[in-house]
């Protein structure tokens, strides 16, 4: 039981790192544009396929194609923002939600149409071993995914706080009118933020590709978890998202020790509903008025 | 017994005191003006009376009933109607249906509600526009729609929040005449107004707020001479100059 629990805690934390990268992108988009991006999971799926195909067709190592999927999704994100999101920024919230849902439907089923529903796996041969340390199995791809995810999350945080562009993005998310007044080009910031959010989730897709079964609907699992994390961390908060991601990863994986595996997701939903009802500002946000 | 009575009402937001130990009363059949510089807490007082905000201390009564703890819709049903400073029409409902919402307070019969709403639209001069959607109305028309909706609930006390802001002199004169007609019909009114001429002409009594506190109360002529009131208003002008 002891090692089982230890194993659960470890893999929970490792998953949490990836959730962090996915959620940070979602929370960035929400914070700046005020949009809940339902297409986030589908974009992650695209990131997975980018690396899969680059590997299968050209033998590109996924840790190299990480750059391709992040850049590719950044471009796609900017395009989506310009073409589809900008026109609905002033529309009712449910129309924004439906629009991103439409994007998700198109992307997922385009993938299904192009690449069939067959589940695919990407095995990195040089990482195909599993050392045991103190009775706990370590999976190298998972460790790498965790490390790179957390590093990218921290990097994004630094970018938003240290660089001029990052500060402009934060200014827009905190004080739209004020940002306009000091001459920030809001349209560009929107496109940039959406692009960066997509790049994050694309990178996350690549990072999990070596140990996740890839299929057109795989993003659905992550997007729900990411919603939970974002709400839990306080909508629009990056540091909150990182903490909440680790917490959710942990809760999910520890719960799986005690209840049937299929039920572990229920734990996530229960947390989600409770947080939305009782602390909609998130676990780490300020208390209620 | 006054129709509306506030005693020692206090409201704070975070560390800021918006309304401080405020007491005043409105007698049945009166028109009382609530004035004060920007940010003096007038709209907060309306929100406290109508249940959109809960006071941190003090008591509010309407016709002898305590209002504290009641929801806005319950307070409306007791007979308190209000308008909003920024007009808040139901933008996808026609002008007629906007007023029907108010009229349904008194009846569940759609035909009767329509009849009541049409009569009120006739009165405020919007009958010709009853099929229009609110976004296509002028500001003056939207203000009248706001008033018509509140009237349709059949209130005993009507709270008007800056119904004359942004109106032309002619429209203001029409509005004053209309409010006088409502008053003659027995309605009690509490009005917030920035257009001084209008509020001086209409009100029998003024309550002056400054930083959430009542600094003066009395007939318009007296209030206009009060040195504290003059200082409050001049201070605001000096600060904004």
């Amino acid at each position: 039981m002891g090692t089982l629990l230890l194993q659960a805690i470890l893999s929970g934390l490792l998953n949490g790192g990836v959730y962090a990268l996915v959620s940070v992108g979602l929370t960035l988009i929400f914070g700046v544009l005020g949009i809940i991006n339902f297409a986030h999971g589908a974009l992650m799926m695209l990131g997975m396929y980018v690396s899969y195909w680059l590997f299968v067709l050209y033998g590109v190592d996924p840790y190299v194609s990480l750059i391709a999927s992040a850049l590719g999704l950044f471009g796609l994100g900017v395009l989506l923002e310009r073409l589809l999101i900008t026109p609905v920024l002033e529309a009712p919230e449910h129309n924004q939600l439906l629009l991103t849902l439409g994007v998700a439907l198109v992307l997922e089923n385009l993938a299904l149409f192009l690449w069939s529903p067959d589940p695919r796996t990407l095995t990195v041969s040089y990482l195909d071993f599993a050392p045991m340390v103190g009775g706990v199995m370590l999976s190298p791809p998972r460790l790498i995914a965790f490390g790179v995810s957390v590093a990218l999350t921290v990097l994004l945080y630094a970018f938003l706080h240290r660089t001029d562009v990052g500060k402009a993005i934060r200014a827009v998310s905190q004080e739209r009118e004020g940002a306009l007044a000091v001459g920030i080009n809001i349209q560009r910031i929107y496109a940039l933020a959406f692009g960066i959010g997509c790049a994050c989730v694309g990178a996350a897709g690549t990072l999990v590709a070596p140990f996740y079964t890839i299929d057109p609907y795989v993003g659905g699992i992550f997007v729900i978890t990411a919603f939970v994390v974002v709400v839990l961390g306080g909508m629009g908060s990056y540091f909150g998202a990182l903490l909440a991601a680790l917490l959710v990863g942990l809760a999910e994986s520890v719960a799986a020790v005690f209840i049937p595996a299929a039920m572990k997701q229920i734990v996530i939903y229960v947390i989600f509903v409770l947080v939305l009802l009782l602390r909609p500002q998130g676990l780490f946000g300020p208390g209620r008025g | 017994m006054p129709l509306l009575a506030l005693s020692g009402v206090t409201k704070t937001f975070g560390g800021l005191t918006a309304v401080k130990a405020l007491s005043f009363a409105v007698e049945e059949g009166e028109i009382v003006g609530l004035i004060g510089p920007n940010g003096s807490g007038k709209t907060t007082v309306f929100n406290l009376i109508t249940g959109f905000l809960a006071p941190d201390g003090g008591d509010l009564t309407f016709a002898g009933r305590r209002l504290v703890g009641l929801k806005p819709h319950q307070i409306c049903r007791l007979g308190v109607g209000r308008t909003f400073q920024l007009v808040q029409p139901f933008h996808r409902l026609s002008v007629l249906d906007n007023v029907r919402v108010g009229a349904f307070r008194g009846t569940a019969d759609p035909r009767q509600a329509t009849a009541v709403a049409e009569a009120i639209l006739e009165e405020v001069g919007l009958a010709a526009k009853k099929a229009f959607l609110p976004p296509s109305l002028t500001l003056a028309e939207r203000k009248r729609l706001e008033l018509a909706r509140a009237l349709a609930t059949g209130p005993r006390l009507l709270l008007l929040d800056e119904v004359m802001a942004g109106l032309t002199p002619t429209e203001t004169a029409e509005m004053i005449a209309f409010i006088r007609r409502l008053h003659r019909r027995g309605l009690t009114l509490l009005i917030i107004e920035h257009v001084m001429q209008a509020v001086m002409a209409l009100s029998q009594r003024l309550v002056v707020l400054h930083h959430g506190e009542k600094i003066c109360e009395g007939p318009p002529q007296e209030v206009a001479r009060d040195p504290q009131v003059i200082r409050a208003y001049l201070g605001e002008e000096a600060a904004s100059a």
Partner: protein
């Protein structure tokens, strides 16, 4: 004259609707059933989402519960699914009240309400999937009885057509009546501006709960119809996100907050889905891709739905005719 014209128009709609099964085969009857069925679900969703303005993203919760309620009652106690459908409606009402109480009590609005409903549906899906895997690993053994009125089973799809036509007619009539009544007017006021509605004496909490109850009850009854029509039941299907999406799509695409919107939307979507299935049969996913694209186009260019688009086109035509 006008009155006679409108009666004539009604006849022109009603007669073909009522006699359709006389001159179509099983295939077209199935298509017609699907159109009417999704129109019915759209009407049910529309009451909450289109009129009361509470955007539910998890109507599969009601749908799945309805399907399971009647089916399990039939399986275990031999209760007729017709009665089961009524009980499913009761379950839908109760669950609607429960979810609504939780959500509205804590002031959830807009996308937060949408997400909580999604979470409710997903929780039910996982619970039922787990329970099914444990209790019925081979699926629910629904006894097939050919055509039996008592068992709500018919070999001929044209019988189902009349059942769902009746359901749709009932729901639409209810919706049309409510829309003009005090209740419907209050719902729309809440949708457009909850605070202003409260100031006019509208108990927003109570009226939102009422919308949840009616919408949930009707949707759950739709679940029973689905179970009886397909005579199979998979938890991941009836509680799935896809059902939630399909339920709201017909209302949104047709025109949320209008009586006939869901019918127009269901007609457009089902015909389109069928066309893509027929012409690009070889490629799975194509129909959903087209759904997504249409959803995007409608949100961008016709945010009020197809019905509003048709109305505008009609106005433009009339103006053009008047000018000529």
């Amino acid at each position: 004259m006008r009155r006679w014209l409108s009666r004539l128009a009604w006849l022109l709609v009603l007669v073909p609707c009522l006699t359709l099964p006389l001159y179509v085969g099983q295939y077209l009857a199935h298509l017609a059933v699907m159109v009417l069925f999704f129109a019915y679900l759209g009407v049910a969703w529309n009451i909450l989402g289109g009129y009361a303005g509470q955007f539910s993203f998890g109507h599969a919760a009601f749908f799945g519960l309805g399907a399971f309620t009647s089916t399990l009652l039939h399986l275990h106690w031999g209760l007729s699914p017709w009665l089961g459908m009524l009980l499913a409606g009761v379950v839908g009402v109760l669950v609607g009240l429960f979810c609504g109480f939780l959500s509205f009590r804590y002031g959830l609005r807009g996308p937060y309400f949408a997400l909580v409903m999604l979470a409710f549906a997903e929780m039910l899906r996982l619970l039922f999937e787990t329970w099914m895997a444990y209790r019925y690993p081979l699926g629910l053994p629904i006894p097939l009885q050919g055509t039996s009125l008592a068992a709500f089973q018919f070999r001929d799809k044209r019988v189902y057509y009349y059942v769902v036509l009746l359901m749709l007619a009932g729901a639409t009539a209810l919706c049309a009546w409510l829309a003009r009544s005090k209740t419907g007017t209050y719902w729309q006021a809440i949708r457009d501006n909850e605070e202003a509605a409260e100031a006019l004496g509208v108990n927003a909490f109570a009226y939102k709960l009422l919308a949840m109850a009616i919408s949930g009850g009707l949707t759950a009854m739709g679940g029973t119809f689905y179970a009886q029509y397909f005579l199979t039941l998979e938890a991941n299907e009836v509680f799935g996100v896809q059902i939630s999406v399909e339920i709201l799509l017909s209302a949104i695409i047709g025109g949320a907050g209008t009586v006939l919107g869901p019918l127009v939307g269901a007609l457009a979507l089902q015909l389109l889905a069928e066309a893509t299935r027929v012409y690009v049969r070889a490629f799975s996913g194509f129909d959903l891709m087209v759904y997504g694209a249409i959803l995007i186009v409608v949100i961008l260019f016709l945010p009020q739905g197809l019905l509003e688009g048709l109305r505008r086109a009609g106005l433009a035509l009339r103006r053009a005719a008047g000018a000529a």
